[in-house]
Amino acid sequence: MFLALHETRILAPVERGLQVVLAPLQRAATALARSIGDLSQGVQEGRELRARVAELEEQVNALTIENVRLREYEAEVVQLRGLLGFVEANPTWAFLGADVVGRSACINVPCGEVVGQEPNPYLRYLTINVGQADGVAMGMPVVTGGAVLVGRVVETGIHTSKVRLVTDTGHSVAAILQQSRATGLVVGQADGSLRMLYIPQEDTVQVGDVVLTSGLGGAFPRGLVLGQVTQVVRQDFALFQEAIVNPAVDYRRVELTLVITSFQPLMQEEPGE
């Protein structure tokens, strides 16, 4: 009957009215269906994105680790270059290398590592893992990159040695100022700095002047870097002036060292003077 009414167009107004009412509902239903479809697709894509993010995070972590390792290698190369330069600049001296975790980077010398720090807060020592078996003996100077004096071997074991740092309060080194050529004695201070004593009053000491070992006394080679003058302490009534010296390296961060096993002391070079 509906078919007959439809065919005879009697129901046309009713159909149009229904279309008018249903069209928006249809659109809404379509939009809803699309939204549900989108949501479903979104969930799927979200899963894929999460997997992708996890994958990328893994890659970032791996790259970060690799970057850290490369930075370590870079820092080591810089230090090794400094030591190599020092060795090449002093071909007549004999060296024994000590570096981090027994690497094979030191070609002609056995390598070791800085294996320990001083547990006593009032002393400044380092322990390196080259000892008597490697030819290390008491009193040998120890340097690090850039010809910086680290200290002197004060105790040797079979495979380890203790190095008293120049900043230790019991340590003193005959020194000379690079620019003014004034001489004095550099001693370690309790706060970890250095102080240059016994500088003649008539000498001009300037802030920024580099302090080197003078070689006097024969305990150390001449020309090793100790630090830089940061303050001059001069009193008119005193016999000598003093200088506060900033150490050339942060000794807590020294990793690579060279033990100078043989060098020509200054006293032997200038016997006639």
């Binding site: 294996v115 320990g116 720090q117 001083e118 547990p119 006593n120 807060p121 009032y122 002393l123 020592y125 322990t127 004060v154 105790e155 203790k162 008293r164 309060t169 019991g170 201070q189 309790a190 706060d191 807590r252």
Partner: protein
């Protein structure tokens, strides 16, 4: 445990410094154990820990041993036990013991020919270290009191 603490103190912790104060792990283990178990056992821990630190140090051998023994004996005594809570007693005793042990260490160094800047040492290292270690003592007390409970020999029981 003492060996691990001594190794940590001569490697990773050696570079740690908070306004001059350094956490003394071995010292803390010794004094807290002495606090828990008395000066007898504390002295044994002090001897072992002291020898380990002396072996790792470039300073005079026996410096740490003496310093830790004195600290253990001091903390292991019963004096001060009626003052306040257990935590307060511990903090107070560790503060005093830390200062005294640093003094003993410095005296040993001075007696064996090491150069000692007393004023700087006491004001910039011993003092701040005493405060830091006293604050850390309750933290160390937690695991050691657990260990104390687990290892404390049981008392006599009357036979039925």
């Amino acid at each position: 445990m003492l060996t691990a603490a001594a190794l940590a103190q001569s490697t990773a912790i050696a570079g740690v410094s908070l306004f001059g104060a350094r956490p003394d792990l071995v010292f803390l283990l010794v004094v807290v154990w002495s606090f828990l178990r008395g000066s007898g056992e504390g002295a044994i821990w002090a001897f072992i820990g002291g020898v380990l630190l002396d072996a790792l140090s470039g300073g005079p051998f026996s410096g740490f041993t003496l310093a830790l023994l004195v600290a253990a004996l001091l903390v292991g005594q019963q004096w001060g036990r009626e003052l306040g809570s257990t935590t307060f007693q511990l903090v107070l005793l560790v503060l005093v013991a830390c200062f005294v042990s640093h003094g003993v260490l410095l005296l040993t160094m001075s007696a064996t020919g090491y150069s000692v800047d007393w004023q700087y040492a006491l004001s910039h290292i011993a003092g701040p270290s005493g405060v830091l270690n006293a604050l850390l003592a309750p933290v160390v007390h937690l695991p050691l009191s657990w260990l104390d409970r687990r290892t404390r020999p049981e008392g006599f029981t009357l036979a039925e």
